[in-house]
């Protein structure tokens, strides 16, 4: 650690950079996505693991809406939020540099434990690329594909899980199929940890057999922060992980379905 008390591996988060991009994020979120974010009053004043549903293909606009809202609700100087992401994002030229300044770090348990130990909170999307590229018809479904690592991380680190659900992100492009079989046939799941390769319809690419970063359609985005879940209090020192997984995903599914029920006309309102 340096004089700031921040461990070396977390020092790439740049509060001044975040402060500089907030106006652009605010303008985009407000004008383009008419974003609404509710529920931050549910977040306890301690390090937590935010667990979200991932939408919107390669753009994941609701993630940026959440980052904007967090850094304005808790302030840039407040408890830092680090997003755990696939290392293809943090290692990418240019994009990696920008996202690391926003507080994105590789999705590795050692990073997460360091974050909690230093007083920060972490954001994780257990569904990863499989959920972000799920078919449009499943846009209001939680798809974590049985991944339970986030539960063990929260339990081991003794932090509460704060579920975050969002709608609208998956209306910014059209994902036509599942794509998991294609990824398996091309062995991308083995070589690049890419589990899904669906056909998508997006701007400016049109119909594509691979998801590329796109210009998000101006869909209405809603984000709801749900009440925290204390795994140790609810499931004890030695949890039944399947039961805990079912509970957390069930609570998130209820939250997501309720949030989706606020949609009057898809994309618009």
């Amino acid at each position: 650690m340096d004089d700031s008390g921040i461990p070396a591996e977390l020092r790439e988060r740049d509060p001044e950079f975040i402060r500089a991009v907030l106006p652009a994020l605010w303008l985009t979120s407000t004008v383009w996505f008419r974003a609404e974010v509710d529920g931050f009053e549910n977040v306890p004043d301690e390090p937590v693991l935010f667990v979200g549903n991932h939408s919107g293909g390669g753009a994941t606009p609701d993630t940026f809406v959440l980052l904007l809202a967090y850094n304005t609700f808790f302030t840039v100087e407040g408890r830092p939020l680090y997003a755990l992401a696939h290392d293809t994002i943090t290692a990418a030229p240019l994009l990696g540099t920008l996202t690391r300044k926003l507080g994105v770090v590789p999705a590795d348990n050692s990073f997460a434990e360091t974050i909690f130990a230093s007083g920060g909170s972490a954001l994780v999307y257990p569904g990863g690329d499989v959920e972000a590229l799920r078919p449009w018809r499943q846009r209001h479904k939680i798809v974590f594909s049985g991944r339970q690592g986030f539960l063990r991380l929260a339990h081991h680190s003794n932090v509460k899980i704060v579920p975050v659900v969002a709608t609208g992100g998956h209306d910014t492009l059209l994902v036509l199929n599942d794509g998991r079989r294609t990824a398996q046939l091309l062995r991308l799941d083995k070589f690049a940890r890419v589990k899904s390769l669906p056909f998508t319809l997006s701007i400016p690419w049109g119909l594509l057999p691979v998801p590329l970063p796109h210009v998000p359609l101006p869909a209405k985005i809603r984000v709801q922060v749900l009440e925290p879940i204390d795994l140790r209090a609810r499931f004890g020192k030695d949890p039944d992980w399947d039961r805990a997984y079912d509970y957390v995903t069930s609570a998130m599914q209820v939250g997501l379905s309720k949030l989706a029920s606020r949609t009057i006309v898809p994309m618009i309102r």
Binding site: H140, D246, Y247, S250, A251, Q253, V254, S257, K258, A260, S261, R262, T263, I264, V265, P266, R269
Partner: protein, 143 residues
């Protein structure tokens, strides 16, 4: 033209337990947050009168309904407000139960009413799905 929207989900609870829960409107409405405005009016030989509304953010959809229930099934028809009828039914499925919620509604008018009904289908489907998920979660984890 009346529109009927149905959603269903599997609940890992015995059909008797799920059926008992959904056929009691006093228990059921207490756990349905998106039916935000529900009020028991009175009971008579025909059933129970309730005010039941869904909040669309702009207008309230619903009105006064007459509810009848038998074990494993609850139904209502409107007697005031938006013309609608509703059925919640439970059947056995894979050792648990399958809950199905169906709502039939119609709007008065011609072309604009048809457009409203089509938009309403999506809105009703999302609200019924949220209701089904709340019921499932309550029975699986909170009872």
């Amino acid at each position: 033209m009346p529109q009927t929207v149905s959603v269903s989900c599997h609940i890992r609870r015995a059909v008797e337990e799920t059926g008992s829960f959904i056929s009691d409107p006093h228990k059921l409405f207490a756990h349905l947050s998106n039916f935000s405005r529900c009020r028991f009016i009175e009971a008579d030989d025909d059933g129970e009168l309730w005010d039941v509304y869904m909040d669309s953010g702009t207008i309230y959809l619903g009105g006064r309904v007459l509810i009848k229930s038998v074990p494993g099934c609850l139904s209502w028809r409107s007697v005031r407000g938006t013309r609608n009828s509703f059925v919640a039914s439970v059947e056995e499925e894979d050792g648990g139960s399958r809950l199905t919620l169906s709502l039939t509604f119609s709007a008065s008018g011609l072309a604009i009413a048809r457009i409203s009904e089509l938009i309403g289908r999506g809105f009703v489907a999302r609200n019924l799905e949220a209701a089904a998920q709340e019921i499932r979660h309550h029975l699986e984890f909170e009872v």
